[in-house]
Amino acid sequence: MAEFMTNRRTLLTGAAALAGIGALPKLALAQGAPIRIGTLTPLTGSGGPYGPVMVKAVKAVIDEVNAAGGVLGRKIELISEDDQTNPEAGVRAARKLIDVDKVSAILGTWASSVTTAVAPLCWESKTFLATVSGADSITQLPHQGYLIRTQPTTTLQGRKFGEFVIAEKAKRVFFLSPQTPFAKSQFDNITEAVKKGGGETASLIYDDKKPAYRTEIDEVLRFKPDAVVFGGYTPDTAVMLKDLFRAGFGGLKVAFGYSVNQKLVDSVPADVVDKTYTISPSSAEGSKAYERLVKLIGVPSPDPYTTQIYDQINLVLMAIALAGDASGTAIKDTIRKASQAPGGAKIDNAIDGLKAIAAKQPVDYDGASGPCDFTETGDISDSKFRYEQVQGGKIVLIKIA
């Protein structure tokens, strides 16, 4: 017991010492010590192909900003850690970034499991966290604003499907899906968008292991839909498309890009899948920010995660400049003033943004991954999507919007 007491005393002393150290950076601030930003991306593990390019994009932006004089008269220092696409390794790396390196923000957590594990460390230590993970549950964590994400959620994807069918003048929309973790959220958000457009929806959740779906299709047709939205994966969607074709359905067909892919198109007769639309999240290809990023890192078509982390570093640097303070709390409080100030000047990179901020102009950042406007809870309220259509056995890009 006595030993325990000693231990606790040591711990308390240690904590006091730590608090003292915590006060030091404030002292150093005046002397222009560097602002530290951490990246926590997968360099190994299943996310391994993405992490290195993501870090490259962050480093390129930081180098550029440093060359232009830094932020608040201070240099930016980048500290990169590997989360190994593994929550346990991610937590260890995040502790190092927070406790040892004392970073203001951590950018780029990739796997939803890693983000979920790391997020509490961040909000408890008042470190800002920007992530590219997609699971709906992440922004429902009690993060008190210390978390934003640039990846569209299922909620947003559902809305895009709904808005698309309404724009194609379909009023009666049927959602056909197997039981997936996102089926309900997808349908609810399609419904919301379709109702807003004066339409009606119905849905059928089917068992994806059956050889035929004739009675299910009968139920679909009884609704007399103008459009059918498919929420499934490739094998069951192929069967559904065949059965709909047999039944003589001639309306609009819309599916996820990962479901109606070239493999599916090759495996069914051309008529069955012809004119089917697909929707998938996309980078803002062709935008000024995107082209700038391509030039900056020399990668011809950067993946969505790279475009997202590029936007994250630009936004964080601008938020620091706006707040006049580099703490995580300051970033949390001002990030939306950098991303979506009403009537602000349209900005697509940090260099221009910092100039505008210095000139006391409000700014509205539109990035390489999309408009980057955040809701209260930290989700992006809009994002670019790729709209494609199957035409004569080929998947053809219709638009990115």
Binding site: A212, E216, P269
Partner: protein
């Protein structure tokens, strides 16, 4: 009324699709006295063999079906003789478990050769015919006809050929059959060939309706097993009746319950059957 009739018809067609592999499964059970769960992979192998014949060799569907029958049958015999036959002495449960393992091995061999991608037969897809409010698919009718012909052939074989009679004798009473000079080992090989071959043909019929991938057979395994239990394990007419009953029950249930619970109908059918009539609709022996 239209709703009911349409569901009834749809049920008949799905039932006929399951009936062919269910007959194969029941034949093996009748003679060898163990449930062979490797039939899932035999169905897949049949589907891929027919795909190879149809798409790569450019053969029409009937010759492709014959090739599927032969290849699935041959694979069944080789698998039986190399892996399962020596376990038969240890009781049905051991063989049944081994057949599950065998199924995994065969499925992954298919995956190794053909990859994981979906494939489809090179056949035009026809629109349904309409009779008032009712729809019938020409392809489904064709599959139904094929299933009927195949099953009629199987009955004729069992009833009128010496081999068929010998098979029935072994199924009925192996000891008595041996006394009569029938070699159960030879009968076993032929039964497995027929059973696996029929399952392979069933795989092709399912593939015609849907698309094929290494899990094609696995997806219908539960329905096939349920149909066989429902009809009476080991009874070949029972397998047909069971499959049709199950198909109709599943489709009719869709009118009342959400489609997600469709598989549950199969389970409930097995449960009720085993509770009140363990030998199934046409089974003669309790199992």
């Amino acid at each position: 009324m239209t709703l009911f009739l349409q569901a009834l018809m749809n049920g008949l067609m799905t039932g006929a699709l399951i009936a062919v592999p269910a007959v194969g499964f029941s034949a093996i059970f009748a003679v060898l006295r163990y449930p062979n769960f490797a039939i899932a992979s035999y169905a897949t192998i049949g589907a891929f063999a027919a795909w190879w014949a149809n798409v790569v060799l450019g053969l029409p569907i009937i010759p492709a079906l014959v090739i599927a029958f032969a290849i699935a049958g041959a694979v069944g015999v080789v698998a039986e003789e190399s892996a399962l036959s020596r376990l038969r002495g240890n009781g049905a449960l051991i063989v049944a478990i081994a057949s599950i393992a065998l199924n995994l091995v065969l499925e992954n061999i298919v995956r190794f050769i053909f990859g994981n991608d979906m494939r489809g037969y090179d056949l035009p897809l026809m629109r349904d015919m309409r009779f008032g409010d009712l729809r019938i698919g020409p392809q489904q009718l064709q599959s139904l006809a094929l299933a009927v012909v195949i099953m009629a052939g199987m009955f004729a074989f069992l009833r009128y050929t010496r081999f068929g009679k010998a098979m029935r004798a072994v199924a009925d009473n192996p000891d008595l059959a041996r006394l009569k000079g029938i070699d159960p080992a030879r009968i076993a090989i032929v039964t497995v060939f027929l059973g696996a071959g029929l399952t392979g043909v069933g795989g092709v019929l399912i593939g015609l309706d849907t698309s094929i991938d290494p899990l094609t057979g696995y997806r219908v395994l539960l329905s096939v097993f349920a149909a066989a239990v429902l009809g009476g394990l080991g009874s070949i007419p029972g397998a047909v009746v069971g499959a049709l009953a199950l198909g109709i029950a599943e489709e009719l249930a869709l009118i009342a319950v959400p489609a997600t619970y469709r598989t549950a109908v199969g389970f409930i059918a097995i449960l009720i059957m085993l509770t009140f009539r363990p030998r199934g609709i046409l089974g003669e022996r309790a199992v």
